[in-house]
Point group: C2
Chain length 191, copies 2
Amino acid sequence: MSLILQNIAKHITLSPEEQRHFLSKTEVHHFKVKSILLHSGQICTHSYFVNSGTLRSFNINDNIVEHVLNFACEGYWIGDMYSLISQKPGNLFIEVLEDAEVVLLSKENQELLYTEIPKLERFFRILTENSLVANQERLMDNLSLSAEERFEKFCKKYPTLIQKVPQKQIASYIGVTPEFFSKMKSRLLRK
Amino acid sequence: MSLILQNIAKHITLSPEEQRHFLSKTEVHHFKVKSILLHSGQICTHSYFVNSGTLRSFNINDNIVEHVLNFACEGYWIGDMYSLISQKPGNLFIEVLEDAEVVLLSKENQELLYTEIPKLERFFRILTENSLVANQERLMDNLSLSAEERFEKFCKKYPTLIQKVPQKQIASYIGVTPEFFSKMKSRLLRK
DNA sequence: TATTTTTCTTAATCTAGGTTAAGTGCTAGC
DNA sequence: GCTAGCACTTAACCTAGATTAAGAAAAATA
């Protein structure tokens, strides 16, 4: 069974018929490292599910500084939720960090599926709830933990990512500069 | 029409029948200032909708420092999403900041309603999506804006709250100490 | 009204993390 | 196999915001 159907099966049960129908509404694409799936200022038209490889979403503020919102590796969904639901231009980029196979689900098909297979509304509700919980925890961590503690949590949560993505992007995710991250890392190693 | 039905009507349409049924699954309670609706360590059993008054959710870390996750005034929902969906003990408190009339919706009734009135699944999906977007923006703001800029955004987003809640709690929400907040405020006034 | 508690302010001092800058080491194209 | 461009490191110096402490103002309670 495909990864995306396994992902869905964690929360709801689809009949073989429904599974086939769901897949028929998606497209699989292959992207090379450094491909940009979504540019800041564009309207986000799809949700992305990662079959293999790694993506990230990030924004760039006035000072030309990047901030990583999310990483997505195998089995994760990614997109620009703000732009996707408002259908207004967003301020996120979505970029490929490692050659990736990605399942694309367009907003129209997603909405269509909600009415054709109402259970999918439940699935995406649960998915969104889980994202919200993760986000709230990250927000509270940013308010109350030191950079070192945030890094430790990151390592536990995404052990595989550390070898895969440039460390300056991990620095950005936990909210410090690459220079400080480097200093902190060598401090930790000396222990 | 009650505030909570108006809130629902922003996203889905319920028949009078369905409206009555929905309300029959909720309870209205009145709470005095300083009441605690949920303690850290408890399992969250309800979603709360504020008819009037003001609530906040916050956690307390090891150092006995409070961090405000959310404020909820008239027309807002609040709860401990982590605890509510996992049914495990959470680490949030929910406290009344101004005498409040609150609509309580138990988790069981919420799930029941999902099956009885599937449209409600859509409603709560949309609600959660909007929370997620707001949270992501706040997270990015914390990573990229100064305390002053975060305060300005807060003032625009919650203009009524500034008079209503102690300023040390606004400080906590934007992620600074009360002392620094006070300094910053007088700096802004001098301009 | 007096008293207690809480919130807010101010100021001195401190520090986690930022900035700037220079140098080292990869690795991807050519 | 060279070279350009990233990614990473190190170090000196800087700053936004934290900490500590003490007092003033406001609000709750008696």
